[in-house]
């Protein structure tokens, strides 16, 4: 038997998982290489910009906003270097807070904080999960909604935001101003953000320049301030490829450009559409609620790379099971009974995970889709529909892979 090897279990071991497949399948694997990594000297040079700004502004205290485990960026080494830099300027740990920009995701417990921030930050600094209730008015009204923002953030003397940039269905790329809106907002603002998106009033995947949502929230940020933004471009293996620092708009644009160039998976030279595609959710494979990110290669494509009746298989570790989202998850105000996803245009879908139950799966996905938790059954399900020399496309890092 031949094998396909998929990266598996971000935050939970990050290993390679092999799936045995029939020898007759003709597999095209669209890999992303992780060759380029930021050097220590480059990192130090970029963090000097932060040091210079702090020396110029001389704030009394500092807040550092970071993203959560649903985002795959490893912050351990970057954060340690930055905190040491800040400490060297006289900012002792009691003058610095780390705030997790959760939106309506689940708060990070100590184990999750250690994974995300590393032992140095957790042991020495106050780490706070954003609470949508602990927010204050910022004198900004969006339509008819007064906007509130995290109290710790608003009251901080100097505001730093660090975030990774991964393709995002309505903000173009994650990070930047989105870390505040909805990341640090009150529940009404978070709900309004998501409602606007669901009603089609916002931006699209991979586009930050012409993105209505982003231009609105960047204007909001102007009202509350953001002193220093660090946009992290990550490799497919989650190592740091590069960082872009400084102004929250310019640095985010530059990081988005580099991320887009890197994540763009060229499929326009494919001569014939595929009979099936395997979309592996890594590195956003920590929970079922994030697994829809695995459809990014299909959502972003301008090239019809699948046959009309091609099968779509999604694989995800879902290490934390179903996960939690205060709006879209079961019981959330925007939770709806699942239906077939329009952008899949009727393709048969099979979903593989061994960490969610069938009951959990069908709370989020249409009853028309197949749920499988046994590896052989997954391959058999695909094989049932395929002829001997079937052509299979594999996207091992599908949650990052934009297509052309």
């Amino acid at each position: 038997m031949a094998e396909i090897k998929l990266p598996w279990g971000a935050w939970y071991g990050d290993r390679v998982r092999a799936f045995s497949i029939p020898d007759s399948w003709q597999v095209t694997q669209f890999d992303l290489l992780s060759e380029k990594r930021i050097k220590d000297s480059e990192l130090a040079e970029k963090l000097n910009l932060l040091g210079n700004d702090l020396q110029f502004k001389k704030p009394k205290n500092i807040i550092i906003v970071v993203d959560d485990l649903t985002r795959p960026v490893l912050l351990d080494s970057l954060l340690k270097s930055m905190l040491e830099k800040i400490a060297a300027l006289g900012y002792t740990p009691e003058k610095v807070k780390i705030l997790i920009g959760l939106g309506s995701h689940k708060g990070l417990d100590e184990e999750a904080l250690l994974k995300k921030l590393g032992p140095f930050a957790v042991a020495n600094y106050l780490c706070i999960n954003h609470d949508p209730v602990d927010t204050i008015d910022i004198d900004v009204v969006w339509g008819k909604t007064p906007i509130k923002l995290n109290r710790h953030y608003v009251e901080a003397g100097y505001k730093i935001v660090i975030s990774g940039l991964t393709p995002h269905s309505f903000a173009g790329f994650s990070g930047g101003a989105k870390m505040l809106f909805p990341g640090l907002a009150d529940m009404d603002t978070i709900a309004k953000t998501h409602k606007s998106v669901l009603m089609g009033f916002m931006g699209k995947l991979g586009d930050v320049e012409q993105n209505k949502f982003r231009s609105i929230i960047e204007e909001f940020v102007r009202n509350v301030g953001l002193d220093f933004f660090i946009g992290v471009v990550i490799n497919a293996d989650r190592s740091i490829r590069n960082i872009h620092c400084g102004d929250y708009i310019n640095a985010h644009r530059n990081a988005a450009k580099e991320a887009r160039d890197y994540y763009l998976t060229k499929i326009d030279e494919i001569k014939e559409p595929f009979d099936a595609v395997i979309l592996n959710a890594y590195p956003k494979d920590s929970e079922l609620l994030q697994a829809e990110n695995a459809f990014i290669p299909i959502k972003s494509t301008k090239t019809n790379f699948l046959k009309e009746d091609a099968s779509v298989a999604v694989t995800s570790a879902c290490s934390e099971g179903m996960g939690y989202h205060g709006l879209f998850g079961p019981g959330g105000v925007l939770y709806r009974n699942p239906r077939p996803l329009r952008f899949l245009k009727g393709h048969p879908v099979t979903f593989f995970s061994q960490n969610v139950s069938e009951e959990e799966f069908y709370k989020l996905y249409s009853a028309e889709y197949h749920f499988i938790n046994e590896e052989k059954a997954l391959i058999q399900k695909l094989a049932d529909k395929l002829t001997g020399n079937a052509r299979i496309a594999v996207f091992p890092y599908a949650s990052l892979q934009l297509t052309d």
């Binding site: 969006w142 339509g143 309004k192 606007s196 009603m199 329009r342």
Partner: protein
Amino acid sequence: MDIKQKLIDFLYDDSLKDEFKDLDPDDSLLELGIVDSVKMLDLIGFIEDTFEIKVDEEDLYPENFDSLNAIEEYIQSK
């Protein structure tokens, strides 16, 4: 025919008959699954054609389109 009835006639879909059965004019059309981003595009076109108004991009907020009452109020304000 009043505005709300015209909107219901446009939005009605047999697969959503349960949602329409007890629909209150203040119910969220989005939360009930009656509109989504694709349906919203059609709805905007329908409103512009039927009521001969221009829906400005600046007006595209959930508050204006998320219930029958909100849409009626919006149309009457134009």
